[in-house]
Symmetry: C2
Subunit: 233 residues, 2 copies
C-alpha cells in the first residue's frame, strides 16, 4: 500500500500543482478543501474537478464558517482591492484579503484527518509570492506549525508517526510553479485564482490574485488556458 498524504486543495493553481507533486512522489492523496464562508463557490467547484483529474483517493470539503470572526475582504463585507500597482502586491503590509489564521485553521484540520488516516505527510501550497504579504505563508510559520503538530497528536505521545508539513512551493515564484505544474500535467484550465469572479467563474482580472497569475503565466511564457489570449496585462 502506498503512503498516504493529506493535500490542502483550494482550487487555485498552486495547490493543484502540489497535489500533482504529491502524486508524483508516490503518495495516495487525500484532498481537503473548505467551505469557510468565502465570497464565492467557484474555487470549490474547481477543487472537485482538480481532485478527480489528478486521481485523489478522496476529496473532502469541510464546513467551517470563518465569517463569524470577520476581519477579511475574502469573508466579510469588505471590498476586494482591484487594479493595484503590481509593485505593491506582496510587498510591505498585510493585504486586506488576508484571512486571520486561515492557514493555521486549515492545517489544524489537515493534521486531524492525517491522524485518522494514518498519514504522516500534509502538503500545503504556500509560496514565495504569498509569504511576502501573509504571515502564515512564511517558512518559519510552517516549521513552528510542524513542531506544534507533533506535540498535538498521537505522534507526540505514542511516538508512532512523525508528522511532516510539506510546502514544496515555498521557495518558488509563480512562473516556476506554472512551469512545474505544466510538466506534471496539471490542467490550469480547471483552476481558479480570482478573489472576486463572476458567478460563472470568469475572473475579474483586477484583483491581486488575477494580477499575480497573469504575471506568472507571462513570465513562464505559457498561455493561461482560462483566458483567450493567455497573457493579460
Amino acid at each position: 500500500m502506498s503512503k498516504r498524504a493529506v493535500v490542502l486543495l483550494s482550487g487555485g493553481l498552486d495547490s493543484a500543482t502540489v497535489l500533482a507533486l504529491a502524486r508524483e512522489q508516490g503518495f495516495e492523496t487525500f484532498a481537503l478543501s473548505f467551505r469557510y464562508g468565502q465570497r464565492h463557490a467557484v474555487e470549490l467547484r474547481c477543487a472537485e474537478r482538480i481532485a478527480t483529474a489528478l486521481g485523489a483517493a478522496r476529496h473532502v470539503i469541510a464546513e467551517i464558517d470563518l465569517r463569524v470572526f470577520g476581519g477579511s475582504a475574502l469573508t466579510a463585507d469588505i471590498a476586494v482591492p482591484k487594479d493595484r500597482d503590481a509593485q505593491h502586491i506582496g510587498s510591505g503590509s498585510i493585504p486586506l484579503t488576508y484571512v486571520p489564521a486561515r492557514n493555521t485553521i486549515f492545517l489544524s484540520c489537515a493534521i486531524a484527518w492525517a491522524e485518522v488516516l494514518g498519514a504522516a505527510d500534509v502538503f500545503i501550497g504556500v509560496n514565495a509570492l504569498d509569504y511576502s504579504g501573509y504571515p502564515d505563508c512564511r517558512p518559519e510559520f510552517i516549521e513552528a506549525f510542524e513542531r506544534m503538530a507533533n506535540l498535538a497528536t498521537r505522534a507526540g505521545v505514542e511516538g508512532a508517526t512523525r508528522l511532516a508539513i510539506r510546502a514544496p512551493l515555498l521557495a518558488l515564484g509563480k512562473a516556476d510553479i506554472i512551469r512545474r505544474g505544466r510538466a506534471l500535467g496539471v490542467d490550469f484550465g480547471l483552476t481558479s485564482s480570482c478573489y472576486d469572479p463572476a458567478p460563472d467563474g470568469t475572473p475579474c482580472g483586477g484583483c491581486d490574485s488575477c494580477l499575480l497569475r497573469a504575471r506568472g503565466f507571462q513570465e513562464a511564457g505559457i498561455a493561461d488556458p482560462l483566458l483567450d489570449s493567455g497573457v493579460r496585462a
Copy 2:
C-alpha cells in the same frame, strides 16, 4: 477600555472556571464555543447560560464539522466507554474519546478571532487530569502552539500584539478547579461534563468525564449541584 480576551468555553466546569478567572483578572471576555459534530447539544446550551451568567461581552458558537474526519467516540459512530476503573482514567494510552487535533483546531479559531478583536490573550481550560491522556492538553503543546501562533498572525509580521495562550488550570486537579470555581462564584449547576447525557441533559454517570467530575466534587468536599446527593460513586 479593559483588555479583551478570547475564552474557549465548552460548557464544562473547567472552561466555566477559566471564564470566571479571566473576568476576575479584569478582561472583557469573548467566549467561543463550537458546534463540531459532537453527539449532543447539551454542552452548547450550558455554554450559552454560563457565558450569560459570567458576563461575557459576546458568545459565538462557530460551526465546524469534525465528523468528516472521524476517529473519535465523541464525533463518530464509536461507543463512549462506560464504568471504567477509575485508576485507568487518565493513565497510559489515549482514550477513545480523544478527538484528533481538537484543541489545535479550537485554539486556531480562537487566535483568528483574537486577531480581529485586537485581543492578546486566549484562555483554554486544559488541566492536569486531561493531559495525562490527551496529547493536546500537555504544557509542551500549549507552549508550542503559542510560539506558532505568534508566527501565524499579524503579531508575527507587524510586531503589534504578542499573543499569549493562557491555560491557568494546567497544573490543577479537578478538586482544586472546583474549589477555585466556587470561590469565583461559578454556578456548577449550569455546567455539563457528561460525554453521553440524556436529551434533557441528565448525565450518564458512567463515562470517564462523569467519573472524574464525581471524584473531583468528592475530593473537594462539595456537593455537585447537578446531582441529588452531590456525591456519586
